[in-house]
C-alpha cells in the first residue's frame, strides 16, 4: 500500500455551517472544553476561518476557509522540530501522524506549523457524567499536556484496512475510508482521495489549474488543496502563495 491521501476543498461551496468541525470533534473524541476555552486555547483539528474581500456595502463578500493539518509532504516542519519523534509521516499513506504517548507538550511543533493547525490540550478530557458512553470506541482519549491535530480520521483508515484484510484484499476501497469532515459536508465541498492515484477524482481535481495551496511558497508540499472561482479568494491565496499582498483584502 503506497498512497498519498489528501483533500481538495471547494471554497465556493463552503457555507461555513461548521458541520465539519462538530463531526470531526465527535469522531475523534475531542472533549467539550471548559467555558473559559477560546479560539486560542480550544481544540479544533478542523477550524473554519471566515475571510472577507475588504469592501464595504453591497460589494462586500465573505468566504469560509476550512483549515486542518495540511499533511505536508516535503520537509514537514512539525516532524523536523519534534525532540520526541512524536510526529511521523506515514510513508504508506502520507498522513502526518501525531503520537500523543510520545509527546512531551513542548509545543515546538505548534510554533513550527505555518498553518496554525496544531492545538495544545490544556485540560484533562472530561465529559458530563454518562456522556463517556457516547465516545467513539475506535479512538483513544488524550491526556492534557499533549499536542493534537487532524490525522485524517486514522481510525477510519484502520477500519477500512481491517475490512480489506478480512476480504483478502491488499488495498482498501476508497468508499470505506471517508474522513468525518468529508462525510459531514452538506454541499460536498470537500473531496478526499488518493492524490498518488491518477484515476482518483480527488487527484484529478487537485491537479487541475483551478486549485491552489496555502503558503505554497514555503515548499512544504501540503496535501490539502483549495479551489475557488472568486477572484478575490484566489488573490488571497496568491498572497499566501507568492508573498505579494493585494491591498484591501483582509484575512
Amino acid at each position: 500500500m503506497s498512497a498519498r491521501y489528501g483533500m481538495v476543498i471547494d471554497l465556493d461551496r463552503c457555507t461555513g455551517c461548521g458541520a465539519c468541525m462538530v463531526a470531526c470533534a465527535a469522531e475523534n473524541n475531542v472533549p467539550p472544553l471548559p467555558a473559559r476555552a477560546t479560539d486560542r486555547t480550544g481544540l479544533t483539528p478542523m477550524l473554519v476561518h471566515k475571510v472577507n474581500n475588504g469592501l464595504e456595502g453591497a460589494g462586500r463578500r465573505e468566504a469560509f476557509i476550512p483549515i486542518a493539518c495540511m499533511h505536508c509532504a516535503n520537509e514537514t516542519p512539525c516532524v523536523s522540530v519534534c525532540p520526541q519523534q512524536a510526529v511521523e509521516v506515514d510513508k504508506a499513506t502520507g498522513i502526518v501522524m501525531q503520537i500523543p504517548q510520545r509527546c512531551l507538550g513542548c509545543r515546538y511543533c505548534m510554533t513550527a506549523c505555518p498553518y496554525h493547525a496544531r492545538y495544545f490540550n490544556w485540560w484533562d478530557p472530561s465529559w458530563p457524567p454518562g456522556m463517556e458512553k457516547t465516545l467513539n470506541p475506535g479512538v483513544a482519549t488524550r491526556m492534557r499536556g499533549v499536542v493534537e491535530k487532524c490525522n485524517l480520521c486514522h481510525a477510519r483508515l484502520h477500519t477500512a484496512m481491517e475490512k480489506a484484510a478480512a476480504e483478502g484484499k491488499k488495498e482498501i476501497e476508497m468508499t470505506d475510508y471517508i474522513p468525518a469532515c468529508v462525510e459531514a459536508c452538506p454541499t460536498n465541498a470537500i473531496q478526499f482521495g488518493d492524490l498518488a492515484n491518477p484515476d482518483d477524482p480527488a487527484s484529478q481535481a487537485a491537479h487541475s489549474p483551478e486549485t491552489f495551496r496555502l503558503l505554497a511558497r514555503l515548499g512544504t508540499e501540503p496535501k490539502i488543496y483549495y479551489k475557488s472561482r472568486q477572484p478575490w479568494v484566489r488573490a488571497l491565496a496568491e498572497r499566501s502563495a507568492s508573498g505579494h499582498a493585494t491591498e484591501g483584502q483582509h484575512v
Partner: protein, 556 residues
Amino acid sequence: MKVSRRDLLLGTAGLTAGIFFTPVPWKVLDDVSIWTQNWAWIPQPPRGPVTTKLAACTLCPSGCSLRVRMAGGFPVGVSGSPAHPLTKGALCPLGFAAHQLNWHPARLQEVRHQGRAASWEEARSAFEKACAEGPIAIVDGRSGRAASIVLQSFAAKHKASYDALRNAEEKSLAPYAKWANVSVSSLGYDLENVRTIVSFGAPLLDGWGVPGRFTHLWAERAAGESDPQLRLIQIEPKLSRTASGAWRWIPICQGSEELLAASLASVLIEEHLVPAQGPVPPASVTDAASQTGLTPAAIRELARAIVDRKPVLCISDGESPAIAALNLLLGAVGTPGGILPKSGHPLPMPPASANDKPLRAVLIDSTVPWEYVAPEGAEAFRFAAWDGGGSRAEWLLPAPGFLEELSDLPSPPTCAVATYAVAPNLLSTSAQTKTAAEFLLQIDPTLPAIDQTIRARCEEIFRARRGTVHAAKPASIASFESAAKLEQALRDGGVWLDDPPAHSPLKCSLREWPGNSGNRAPANWATTWAQPVLPPLAAKLYQESSLRETPQRSQS
C-alpha cells in the same frame, strides 16, 4: 582488586553516560508517558461490536435520516443517511453531536413542581383537576405527528383548545393557505424547478427548511458561478451566510422588506414586466427608496433582474402577506418552480381550535420552543427533555431525549412533495420520562395510541399505491406485499416519498394589497432559544471559533 573512590565515581559516570546509549531511558520515558495518560479517571470509550442502525432525527421538523453507530448499546456516532431523498446525507452541525444530548447537564431527570421535586402522580392529579375546572389549552410545536393526534383527540374530547405553533418556514406559507383556504401543511416550495429565488431575509443556506435540500441545489447550480443556473438574490440588512453565497446581495434597512416587495410589484406592473392582475400596491418607488436605503434606480433595476430568468420565487422569513402577494403577481403560486400543493397528501390534519377565554391551565408539548410564554394566569405543564431556562412553568415534566421516543415524521415544512418516516426509539427511556401523549393516554386510555396511528398511516400509504420508499435501495410502494412490510421498512429507517405533484391548481384570490405585517426578529438557531440547549461540542462553533454568534455576542 581494590576499588578506589575514583574508580567508583568513574564507573558511575560511565554507567550514567552509557545508559543513554541503551533503550532503557527511552523505554522508561515512553512507559511513563503512557502510564500518565491512562489514569483511572480518564474516560475510556465503550467496548463492544460496532453496529450501524438507521434512524431519524426528531430535533426539528425536518426529520433528517440518520446513520447511528452503536457500541455497547449506546450511540457513538451520528451521520446523515445518503438514502434520504431530500437531505441526501446532509445534517445540520448540531445533528452530528446530538447523540451526546441525552447526557447534557441540563437534562431533566425528575418531575419538578415550582422548582421542587414531585411525582408523576401529583402532576397527573393536578392536571386532572385543572381539566375538571377548565378551560385548558394544549400547545403543540410540531403538528401532524401521531403524537399530535393524541393531543388533538384529548383536546376535542375534553373541550380544550389545541394550538399548533408554526415555525418561520411554515409561517411564510400561511398567506397562501389563507387565500386558497387550505392548510399550511399541504403547501410547499418547488425549489427544484425554480431559476431565480428572491429571498427576503430567509436563511436559505443556514438551516432553512430541510438541511441539504436547498444547499445541494445551490452547490450544484449556483456556487461560485458568475452567471449561475439558479440565481439567488438575498435581500437582507446583514451580510449573512446566505447573502455571502448569493448571486446578488441587496442590503436594505431592517424592517423595510415588505415595502420593497410592494414597490417591486408596482415597478413590475408599471413597466409591464408581468401581466397586470390583482390589486395594485399602494407603495411608490420614491417612498420605498427613502425607507429601504436603496435608490429608485436600484429598485427598478432589481425588479427587471428578478423577472429576467423565470420561474421566479420569492421567499420570506416568516409570515409576510406583501411578499406572498408579490409571488402571486409573478405567477409563482400553483405553478412549477413556485408554491405547490402537495398532491395526494395522505395525512390531512384538522385545523387548530382557538380559545379566547382566560385559561385555567396549559399543557405544553416538548416540541414547543422555550421562548413560548404560557398565557398569564394559566398553570403551565411543560414537557421537556432539557431545561431550557426561558419562561418558567409550574410543572416541568421530563420527556424522552434524542432517539428515546418512537415518533413519526410527516412532510417537513417547505417540502412540495409529501414524505413520511418513522423515528424508532433506539435507546430505552428512563422510567422517569414520559411524552405528553403518553401522559394524556394514561389519563384517557381511549385515545388513539401512537403505534395504532403509525400503523393506520402506513396502511393509508399502502392503499394509495403511490410513491417510493427510500432505504438502502429505493423500492416503489407497489413492490410491498402488505402494509405491515411497508411499516417495517419505515421503522427500519426508510423514508416514503410521494410521486411528484400533478400541479393541481391552487386558486388564491386577493382583493387588495396586504398591509405591512411589522418588523420581525432575524431567525437564528443560536438566538431563538431562551437558553440554547446544544450538544456540548457545538461550543466548537461559537466558543472555540468565531464561526457563529452566541446569543450574548449577537445581542451586543
